[in-house]
């Protein structure tokens, strides 16, 4: 039972981390109709900034805050310099353009920080395990991730649902032309949304840096999952991204944790242990396929009424 609770927490933590990444992606995709493959690069930049600033200032928290601000600025600059040229073009141009940006950022990081990667140590006060329920020990850092990401999710909810900017964001996701026609400064809105998405990606990269790694190309694998979440949740919907991210996090983690045992029982030791890693990593894609069949627009499409 404690194992199950622990695995659920792992799933929750992973899902919330994915949410940070997918939220920015789905906003940009939904509102600006822009396929941004370079979202993973912003995630990478967040991690590199955090590792650098934390080393300079000697404080994890100050480093993290500076990293988020830096990624926000990079994101806004990127929107003004590069992304603006891509709006209204074909999706294929988006893919080409932003893929080029991936190469650009990978090489830029190699030039600035070198090819070896950095490390961002967990602050001492979080580098231990705590007893969150009687008998259940859990990594303090992962628990902190859960709390911080839940707070960010709540902040996003209030921002999108309760503020004027949020209203424009929602309106933009539903009908971009109409928002522009009503005299809203759409350029500024786009820059803000893109910056917000970048900051969220940077936060995700910074948060996972002590657990995973800070290295070139770290954003590419996880970006695939973020796209899966965007598709499952419905393009442009923050709520959809939240639900889908938790689904993917739980299914991926619990699948890895318990699926192998089930398979070994069913197929025998040899076949089961060979097939399990492949099958459990397929689970989320199967989920995506099923949802696309049942609800082709995703769970919470921003365009559907």
């Amino acid at each position: 039972m404690t194992l199950f609770i622990e695995q659920c927490l792992n799933g929750l933590q992973f899902g919330l981390l994915l949410f940070l990444l997918a939220a920015g992606l789905t906003l940009v995709f939904g509102i600006m109709d822009l396929v941004n493959l370079a979202h993973g690069s912003l995630y990478m930049l967040g991690a590199y900034f955090a590792a650098t600033f934390a080393a300079w200032t000697g404080s994890f928290v100050i480093g993290a805050v500076l990293a988020i601000i830096a990624t926000l600025l990079v994101g806004m600059a990127l929107e003004v310099i590069a992304m603006r040229r891509l709006y209204g073009r074909d999706h294929l141009d988006h893919v080409l353009g932003t893929f080029g940006l991936i190469l650009f950022f990978d090489e830029a990081v190699r030039l600035i920080w070198g090819p070896g990667g950095l490390s961002l140590p967990v602050p001492a006060w979080l580098n231990r395990s705590i007893e969150i329920l009687p008998g259940v020990q859990y990594s303090a850092y992962r628990f902190a991730i859960i709390i911080v990401t839940l707070a960010v999710a709540a902040f996003l909810y209030i921002l999108v649902m309760r503020t004027r900017v949020g209203m424009l964001i929602r309106a933009g996701a539903s009908n971009r032309e109409m928002v522009g026609a009503l005299g809203v400064n759409i350029n500024l809105l786009y820059t803000l949304v893109f910056g917000l998405g970048a900051a969220l990606a940077g936060l995700a990269g910074m948060i996972q840096a002590p657990i995973l790694t800070v290295q070139i190309g770290m954003g590419e694998n996880i970006l695939i999952l973020a796209f899966v979440i965007t598709v499952i949740g419905g393009i442009g919907s923050i709520r959809g991204a939240f639900v889908a991210a938790l689904l993917v996090g739980f299914i991926d983690t619990l699948g890895r944790a318990f699926f192998p045992q089930i398979l070994v029982e069913l197929l025998g030791r040899q076949a089961g242990s060979t097939a399990a890693p492949a099958l459990s990593s397929m689970l989320i894609y199967i989920l995506m396929a099923v949802i696309l069949i049942v609800k082709p627009q995703g769970l919470f499409s921003a365009n559907s009424r």
């Binding site: 990667g117 490390s119 580098n127 002590p210 657990i211 995973l212 790694t213 890895r256 242990s273 890693p277």
Partner: protein, 393 residues
């Protein structure tokens, strides 16, 4: 357009055909192809291997048997299919005399066939695919490393001696991961309470596996994660609260490239290798000192094996006086292994894999730097266990 393409392909095919070079033809240079990973997260391993190979060439005056050496480095991008293409390019269009390198078992297993079919010598500097030492062994394949199961067997023997009763195994789901854990299981006398294979190389979060290892209440955890994944594993091991409560054993997951990033998370972790920077022999001292001087970093075991590969090739070319057309003579010269290895005595078994000793290493902290210190000799002069399955006697 299509016609031009056809014509070009035909020309290429012709060029790649079996142009027999007469044995008396004057060899102008020694051409060596080197396949490794030079891009992506594990590029640091490939670069370390290249650095060591270049250092060995420097030590030989950049000449072998009086001939200048021409190096062609190719990036396998960690993908078997790319490695195979690069190997084909090296033997068919570059017509190299030797191919060396190879970090990954799955890459070398996809690539060895075209090399061997072209009667080109393959000197594997790391990848320990067991089938190349056993049923698929060849007169043209040599290794300056080990097979995937050897180091884990050494670790298991050491754990048997220490009286470790139960273990939980975690490794990546590819050729080397399976062979590594299988080797461990073949020698470990205690109970294996569970084993997990994770998606390689994409899965970097081991929380689910670590939670299971913790719940199994095993005496020890054994894992195998080469390259950057080893950094992540150790960090997460500490964060999950397992460090200090369950001893961790490993192979190939801690090296001089990853240690500066693993730091405290690696302290006390025990592994087994056939080489370490502190082995007391002259060749090793020269290698380690000059490597540090030239590249400003500690050499890894990947580097040590690449250095030996270069020295081995050099010794063979010198022995045949640069007459590389005589394949049988080159093979004989390679088998003699007449060079000073950084691991001390070096001898090939009948399957062209080294007969060697394995040492246990523990990560220690001296001042501000972390190093791997040799704490015991696990096995002395053991032949490769797959020689029996090899048809060469």
């Amino acid at each position: 357009m299509q016609k031009t393409f056809l014509a070009a392909s035909a020309a290429l095919l012709l060029a790649a055909g079996p142009v027999v070079s007469p044995a008396w033809a004057q060899q102008k240079s020694v051409k060596i192809g080197f396949v490794s990973t030079f891009s992506g997260p594990v590029a640091s391993i490939g670069n370390d291997m290249r650095n060591a190979f270049e250092l060995a060439l420097d030590h030989m005056g950049r000449k072998m048997g009086g001939l200048p050496v021409e190096m062609i480095y190719e990036d396998d991008t960690l993908k078997p299919e790319v490695g195979k293409q690069k190997a084909e390019k090296l033997v068919e269009s570059d017509k190299v005399d030797f191919v060396s390198g190879f970090i990954w078992s799955n890459v070398v297993y996809a690539s060895y066939k075209p090399i061997v079919d072209a009667k080109t010598f393959l000197i594997i500097a790391n990848a320990g695919e067991t089938r190349l030492a056993g049923q698929n062994c060849s007169p043209f394949i040599f290794s300056t490393s080990w097979t995937n199961d050897q180091n884990p067997i050494a670790v298991a023997d050491y754990m048997n001696q220490k009286g470790v009763k139960s273990v939980y195994l975690i490794g990546p789901n590819y050729a080397a991961g399976k062979e590594n854990l299988a080797g461990f299981k073949s020698a470990f006398k205690g109970k294996v309470l569970g084993e997990d294979y994770t998606t390689w190389p994409s899965q970097l979060d081991f929380s689910a596996e670590l939670a299971k290892a913790k719940a199994s209440k095993a005496d020890a955890v054994y894992m195998f994660y080469p390259g950057a994944a080893g950094v992540q594993f150790l960090n997460q091991y500490a964060q999950a609260g397992l460090k200090g409560s369950i001893p961790l054993y490993t192979t190939f997951s801690i090296d001089s490239l990853s240690l500066p990033r693993q730091k405290d998370a690696a302290l006390g972790v025990i592994s087994a290798l056939q080489w370490s920077a502190d082995l007391p022999n002259d060749a090793n001292k020269k290698f380690v000192d000059d490597f540090k001087k030239k590249f400003g970093s500690e050499p890894s075991f990947y580097a040590a094996q690449s250095y030996d590969a270069a020295m081995l090739i050099g010794s063979a070319v010198t022995a045949v006086k640069g007459n590389l057309g005589d394949k049988a003579a080159v093979q004989k010269a390679l088998e003699k292994a007449d060079f000073k290895s950084v691991r001390g005595d070096f001898k090939f078994g009948s399957n062209h894999y080294p007969t060697q000793s394995f040492y246990m290493q523990e990560v220690v902290k001296t001042g501000d730097s972390y190093t791997q210190k040799t704490i015991a000799t696990a096995e002395k002069n053991v032949p490769n266990p797959h020689a029996k399955q090899c048809s060469m006697k």
